[in-house]
Symmetry: C2
Subunit: 314 residues, 2 copies
Amino acid sequence: MDETDELLSIRAAELYYEENKTQDEIGQALRLTRWKVGRLLAQAKQRGFIRIEILHPRARRLPIERRLREERGLADAIVVSSAGVAGPEELQARTAQAAADYLTALRPVPRTLGVSWGRTLYEISQHLRNGWATGVNVVQINGGVSLNRRPGTAAATAVGIAQKGGGQATLLPSPAILERLETKQAIESDRVVAGVIELARSADAYLFSAGAADESSVHVESGYLSVSDVELLVAKGAVGDVVGRYLDSDGNIVDPALDARTVGLTLDELREAPLAIAVIAGQAKHPVADAVVRSGLCTVLVTDEATALHLLDG
Amino acid sequence: MDETDELLSIRAAELYYEENKTQDEIGQALRLTRWKVGRLLAQAKQRGFIRIEILHPRARRLPIERRLREERGLADAIVVSSAGVAGPEELQARTAQAAADYLTALRPVPRTLGVSWGRTLYEISQHLRNGWATGVNVVQINGGVSLNRRPGTAAATAVGIAQKGGGQATLLPSPAILERLETKQAIESDRVVAGVIELARSADAYLFSAGAADESSVHVESGYLSVSDVELLVAKGAVGDVVGRYLDSDGNIVDPALDARTVGLTLDELREAPLAIAVIAGQAKHPVADAVVRSGLCTVLVTDEATALHLLDG
DNA sequence: AGTCCACCTGCTCATCTGAGCAGAAGGAGC
DNA sequence: GCTCCTTCTGCTCAGATGAGCAGGTGGACT
């Protein structure tokens, strides 16, 4: 395509997309046949001169979703558009909304849904509508009750999802991380706790997010880890955590001793799940999102456009 | 349009614009008739959910051009797209290119073209192609030869435009602004200078830019004015200059005494021209662009999208 | 110069799409 | 409960568009 044709294709595109002229009219204006105009427009599209964006908080990026499914082996992918996004909070909100939509549309409806907790999960619970399902029971898959600064967030998440879904919530009454291995083993052998974990193992589907390995981690906020603990983990290669377990970029546990003191489903148990929905959004979580997808921790990913493109780049 | 329809229209738009499905296929996917899909897409467009951009340095914004013609009474307007622009230099380059394109396509071809000088005009001369016209003579319409730091820029501009257009350049051998009124009157009564100005008055068309009233002004750079001179002009209401003459936001001369010492066509002479092409780009020139258009200094405006929108806002 | 080949052009035809219309549905007011 | 009015729905039909094809054009190579 020479320079003249390139310019013509731009002129044609202006008349077609901005002035709503027909290809025939454009042909008359530019002294071309309407077939030539059609070809110029096709070339303009194909060469990427034409960008069509859907500007809406609920807009998704289907081509990127397809690439994630095909190139990253996911069973499903939901990618929300970043077009016209105001800030990181809105990105987070859009992604949580999309996750709520996905859950609502999910078929078959899971009888039991295993959930983690955290800012993202809480926001998903807020975006779910009353009656999003009928009779979905919810079970927590990792510990964390009550140490949180905003007490009850973890519980409110699970209970909220369950209530709006017309089911019961089963909480895991345990800290996320114990200080001593013996305490962790003791609490796991507690009849109630063991029962909850057993229920969690039998869930039909899991819904969880991932945390970045930095000082903003919920584990730091909740007091389970200190900033220097996290720095140590990062030094060992940690990119973030899933259900409280810190992993490196290959999805391996970074600190087996710490992991052994962490209550809840293990990463390998998650990997065996037939339906594991990860909801991860934001620049800060790009590395951990990568690790989650690469190591097969989820079968379904709900994320934002920038994160999705990051995953596809590598 | 309720929330459900809004969401459906977004889903439909995704399938239509990103997946290239037909409205009929979308109808099947979303369990709607194809007419409903068509209406949803029309509403999505109409409500502004669909943004179509033409990403190309030569892309123009025809709807904005139309508004400028209709709402600002211009005979013609050329607005280059700001989409995907890298920086102010590229905006300037795009606008200069558009001005060169406009000149090249101009019919009837002017026998004599009056030009000012400056960074913008120089860039236009660079973008013109050899043989853009056959036999267009060029005449400078304001003084400024030789005091410029990059000597010859003013002359190179006029000569370049003329040579590439197969014609002769007539330079105005005079400073832009004289220190004393008497000197200005003396130089204007010089036979050669008077002849050039007479020729300039008889030009078929004028091509000029405008300068912002700040320290970056070519008059400061050229030594005609000091920074404090410009500050004084700004204090008196100056928003910029056209052919070396400083005007306020209403297009009135700010400093009549200074104006009387300025050599070349007057603003009122420009206003009477049947074809006066102003080329103005960049954030810094928004106020002076406004003054130029409001006070009828040009019949044709070549500018960038942001500047055009600024003109239409007010 | 002749031949071949790739590309381009203008066409036919099938499909897609938007305008306009008649009837149905859903509310508001009586 | 009934009527009227607005809005919505599914349709016809004509215009717009894209796929595919035959013929033509121009350049490269022999």
